[in-house]
């Protein structure tokens, strides 16, 4: 079965060494997804696979037979941005923008995790449902580093969309 990226099917690469990140950028030509560290440490490569956010640098493309990948390009377009894309623009949730695609993919999946009641390290009672405080947003987004330090505005953008959703 092919691998689907933003609903478009692609044949798996012949060389098993190709990471999902390199496949997205080079084979699919979707350069919105960024390579920061290539070692799972920065989150710039975050994409959504079958509804879950992952670091695309630490997985092989050949391991994604039949999977559905969503990248920043699949979330919205400049004329029809997603709610989070719009909120990042309005709140200035970036400076250089390098981490932004990963931040937005991550935040998109994070709002689904909250809606599904998943706990985090910031949740006082792991057996109960979490409430989306700023502390929860920061903990849940800790896998996305921002060298420019746009964190307060990133949290503000996410808070706004989360508030609208709840």
């Amino acid at each position: 079965m092919p691998l689907k990226i933003n609903n478009h099917p692609y044949d798996l690469p012949g060389d098993p060494r190709v990471s999902l990140l390199d496949f997205i950028r080079r084979e699919a030509g979707l350069t919105g997804t960024k390579k920061g560290c290539d070692h799972g440490q920065c989150g710039a490569c975050t994409v959504i696979v079958n509804g879950k956010r992952i670091n695309s640098c630490l997985t092989l493309a050949v391991m994604h037979d039949g999977d559905e990948v969503t990248t920043i390009e699949g979330l919205g377009t400049p004329t029809e941005p997603s709610a989070l894309q719009q909120a990042f623009v309005e709140h200035d949730g970036y400076q250089c923008g390098y981490c932004t695609p990963g931040q937005i993919c991550s935040a998109t999946a994070m709002l689904d995790e909250i809606a599904a009641g998943m706990p985090s390290d910031a949740t006082d009672d792991v057996s109960g449902a979490p409430t989306l405080t700023d502390e929860e947003i920061r903990e849940r987004m800790s896998g996305n580093l921002c060298r420019c330090g746009a964190y307060p505005n990133i949290v503000a953008a996410i808070r706004e969309v989360a508030g609208a959703a709840s």
Binding site: L58, T59, V126
Partner: protein, 327 residues
């Protein structure tokens, strides 16, 4: 990354045979193995993808719970019974890595993750674990992350994970299949080994053995805590961590199952600590004695000397929180 053959596992016994030869390795989430392959710390010539074996179920087993080898860390931490009956496990997992990594990280991969020693991950440095006989760079070098308990003159690395520390406190068991249709069970407490003079061997898995799951015993209740001390408040490995299951009856401690991360080559469990605490009234003096026992043979290596007082304070703070003693 060096070239390798990629095989999809087509059955447990076959996967076991395929991973048995030198140079062949299982891959699950890939979050540790691919990281190390990019650094050429690991250079397998064959990767056997165990994901097609679908060992990801989490299901009741008697009064306990069986967690499949490939259940993701997210699935485990989010499981209703883990959250209500084994909260120390949910907390330990959630204290590790990030949501993106936990979405890929698996039970088996997490148990088998390798040390974060900076000499181990840099192929230009000496390291007995990576290259037996080449020496240990850390022992007289940068050793902030390193062990203070159970070290050897060959290696002072730590097992870096969080999940297994909680599993050690819970006395969970690892289920291992060996390819002849047979399987064995090893307590998590005995799964990782001390470095001794063979630091290249992290755990008791033999070539070709595949982890199929981890079973948790019937829930024991009590107060369950996971305290992780690290350089920043999220997304960092433990300098020291404490998993605690503590219960009280009639003003006395009736249960104290404790395990420690970041201090040794394995999640550290010292049965004498539970024996000391159970039956006693909680007090700071008692917790000090528990820390004396824990750290009786502790040895620092310069940069990590701070871990000895840190472990004492982490243990005391955890016990105080669990028993309502003013710290």
């Amino acid at each position: 990354m060096k070239p390798f053959d990629y095989l999809r596992a087509e059955g447990l016994d076959l996967a076991s045979q395929q991973t048995a030869p030198d140079g062949a390795m299982a891959i699950a989430g890939g979050t540790n193995l691919l990281d190390l392959m990019k650094l050429q710390v690991e250079s397998p010539d064959t990767l056997v993808d165990v994901n097609p074996l679908s060992m990801d179920q989490i299901a009741d087993e008697g009064d306990g719970l069986r967690i499949g080898a490939q259940a993701t860390n997210t699935a485990t931490a989010n499981h209703a019974r883990v959250r209500s009956d084994y909260p120390v496990l949910a907390k330990a997992i959630l204290a590790g890595a990030t949501q993106q990594l936990r979405n890929k990280a698996t039970t088996a991969g997490n148990l088998c993750q390798r040390t974060r020693c900076y000499y181990f991950t840099n192929i230009d440095q000496p390291c007995n674990k990576r290259e037996p006989g080449s020496g240990c760079g850390a022992i007289d070098g940068i050793a902030r992350l390193h062990a203070v308990l159970g070290t050897s003159s060959e290696c002072i690395a730590t097992y870096p994970g969080d999940m297994a520390v909680a599993m050690t406190a819970l006395d969970a068991k690892v289920e291992i299949a060996n390819g002849d249709g047979n399987s064995r069970t090893v307590p998590v407490r005995d799964f990782h080994r001390l470095p001794s003079d063979t630091p290249h061997i992290d755990n008791v898995l033999e070539p070709g053995e595949i982890i199929t799951g981890v079973t948790l015993p019937a829930p024991v209740g009590g107060t369950q805590l996971y305290r992780k001390v690290r350089e920043r408040s999220s997304y960092a490995f433990a300098l020291c961590s404490v998993a605690a299951i503590v219960d009280m009856a009639d003003g006395r401690i009736s249960r104290a199952d404790l395990a420690f991360g970041g201090l040794a080559h394995k999640p550290w469990h010292d049965p004498r600590i539970g024996e000391l605490l159970v039956g006693e009234e909680p007090s700071l003096a008692l917790y000090d004695k528990a820390a004396d026992l824990l750290l009786e043979d502790a040895q620092g290596y310069g940069e990590n000397d701070f871990k000895i007082p840190l472990a004492r304070r982490a243990l005391t703070a955890t016990l105080c929180e669990a028993t309502g003693v003013e710290a």
